[in-house]
Symmetry: C2
Subunit: 365 residues, 2 copies
């Protein structure tokens, strides 16, 4: 175990002072250094295999060169999040270009305030990106006056925090409009997550709004709340099928959850899109590889990540952007899972006798 190489060692070998070494290696132009001196220093550093100590650098410069990604979700949900890799991919790529690091942190429910304070006050990181926070997160207030910049992925109404998000409401509306345009009138909805999560309520609102604009009555009985993972999608779809409600299409506000719905429909012997049309949300890689391919709203996790990072970078440089929030576009991608109603609608078979009245309303509009 050889002793650690310090800048003093480099200075000694180059025959200059430690200060000069620092100036050269950090490209400080304010003090001019003779080119040959600089070269001598660089050579010495290379020869010794010198890497400046991260902690010392951070302490002296008050910059850790790390940004934090905070996940407001329990590990068991993290485990099956198909969106996380995309976010990470985008962030890692952007960070590498600025030779910054990514500190990943998961906050326990109820420990948010504690964790946020610890991270910001202890200066573990220079900036912070909050992934999928809950609206009722008790620590958000504190972050508004944190001493490091914060960017939220998602929208927190009434918060002064900067944020990046897709237009969940409009996008969900477009998804449901797509179904309405295909003639569907009885459209169920499975949310992507519990409603305290910002995206969940917005997508549900989009669903409601689309129905309203089309003059279709909103029925709470047609709504189910999923919980991020496939299993919950399966359960909630099953719950819908077991209810007395009739519907010919489902807007599932997350592809992952939608795949669970696929499974439940398949189990029930129902065909997509013959019996039920499905529209998802997110456009995860699998969406174009399932059978039938999934109609969905394309959201680029990488784009969200990059945009968040860019915003954060600007905040760290101290130049305040004019607008508090960035909204990214989405794109509806029609695939095989959604189709015009009645093309082969045999959904009525099950329990047709007792739901005939409602059934009419599904087709006669």
């Amino acid at each position: 175990m050889s002793r650690r190489v310090t800048s003093q060692d480099v200075a000694d070998l180059a025959g200059v002072s430690r200060t000069t070494v620092s100036f050269v290696l950090n490209n400080v132009h304010r003090f001019s250094i003779r080119p040959e001196t600089a070269e001598k220093v660089r050579l010495a550093a290379q020869e010794l295999g010198y890497y400046p100590n991260a902690s010392a650098k951070a302490l002296a410069s008050n910059q850790t060169k790390n940004i934090g990604l905070i996940i407001s979700r329990a590990p068991q949900y993290v485990a099956s999040d198909p969106f996380l890799p995309q976010i990470l991919s985008g962030l890692l790529d952007a960070l590498k270009q600025n030779s910054q690091g990514l500190l990943l942190e998961w906050v326990e429910p109820g420990q948010q305030l504690q964790t946020y304070l610890e991270l910001t006050r202890a200066h573990h990181i220079d900036g912070m990106i909050l992934m999928t926070p809950r609206l009722d997160d008790p620590g958000l207030r504190a972050l508004e006056e944190a001493d490091i910049p914060v960017v939220v992925m998602g929208y927190i109404p009434g918060s002064s925090l900067h944020s990046v998000d897709v237009d969940n409401l409009t996008s969900a509306e477009a998804a449901v409009n797509h179904l309405i345009g295909l003639g569907h009138r009885c459209i169920a909805c499975i949310t992507n997550a519990p409603l305290p999560y910002s995206s969940a309520i917005q997508r549900l609102d989009g669903y409601k709004s689309a129905l309203q604009k089309a003059g279709i009555e909103f029925k709470p009985e047609l709504v189910r709340e999923a919980d991020f993972d496939i299993k919950s999608g399966h359960q909630q779809m099953k719950s819908l099928l077991q209810s007395d409600q009739e519907f010919t299409a489902v807007f599932v506000a997350s592809d992952n959850v939608a795949l669970g719905a696929y499974s439940a429909l398949s189990e029930a012997g129902l065909s997509i899109p013959d019996d039920i049309s499905i529209v998802g949300f997110d456009d995860i890689p699998m969406a174009s590889f399932v059978t039938p391919t999934l109609t969905t709203v394309a959201v680029s996790g990488q784009e969200i990540a990059i945009e968040s990072y860019n915003l954060l970078t600007r905040l760290m440089r101290g130049d305040l952007p004019e607008s508090r929030s960035v909204t990214l576009p989405t794109r509806l991608i029609p695939r095989e899972s959604s189709r015009e109603i009645g093309r082969r609608g045999k959904r009525g078979e099950r329990g047709a006798e007792k739901t005939s009245a409602k059934f009419v309303s599904c087709f006669n509009d």
Copy 2:
């Protein structure tokens, strides 16, 4: 922007010295502190909202309290890795219990050595976990004598690095044996990744070994290399179908890739398992929710993560474990995607005339 709270402030408020504060907050028992003094200090710290500066602490104690997870894969592959969330979930959970942080790092191909040195020498982290390294990684040698502990997820033959892995070879063998037991004789293989990745070659070797033990000839024409993502699975399955080779089952060494194969088979109008049986590897959450549900080898990413972390922790404490590598068990989970051959084998239809000879070998064994 209020001035940062330091331990001196706490000391002043509590009416003691900074040293005492340090002793109290770090639970140093070697010097005894009167309980009421300790209480005074704790109260003062709480009142001021004191959080010790991470960099200063790291510098003074030579411990960053961070461990690094290094991903040897380009961001575009990270983006569609269904296994990463499981690993992260396991790690985050374990880390939180020891109040450590996770630094995520991606290494560019060709930059491995550079990145490893930077991370270890600059002491960004206390320990390092290497995810899915390539066998030909030029930086591994350097890590063997790094000044921080390293654990590899996966097996690197001939390396002295500690490692955690599932028994890929035996597990793959079991998967293929399952197919052989169902009567299959012409079994194709699609690897999970390019062969320079350690797990890919081991799983392929397991496939070969199972064939050999069963007295079945290994045909290189029946092997394809996928590249982690679904799309590559789709492509390679297509490539198999377009070849002249006959086969009644495919061992796909990754569930994610297998789902791509599903898609290709579906496109080709072939049924799983009627025409082709499929066995996957990993047991990602989706495996039990696709139609048909996927027979696969269950690997717990979380377990791998936790085991890696435990090993790393022991190394960091300095107690060397007796064995260099930990091997975790797997479990074959038979589901719907694999079935006895010939139950409804109409796979011969396509190009039956020109492949009849081979075809015989698929059933007459």
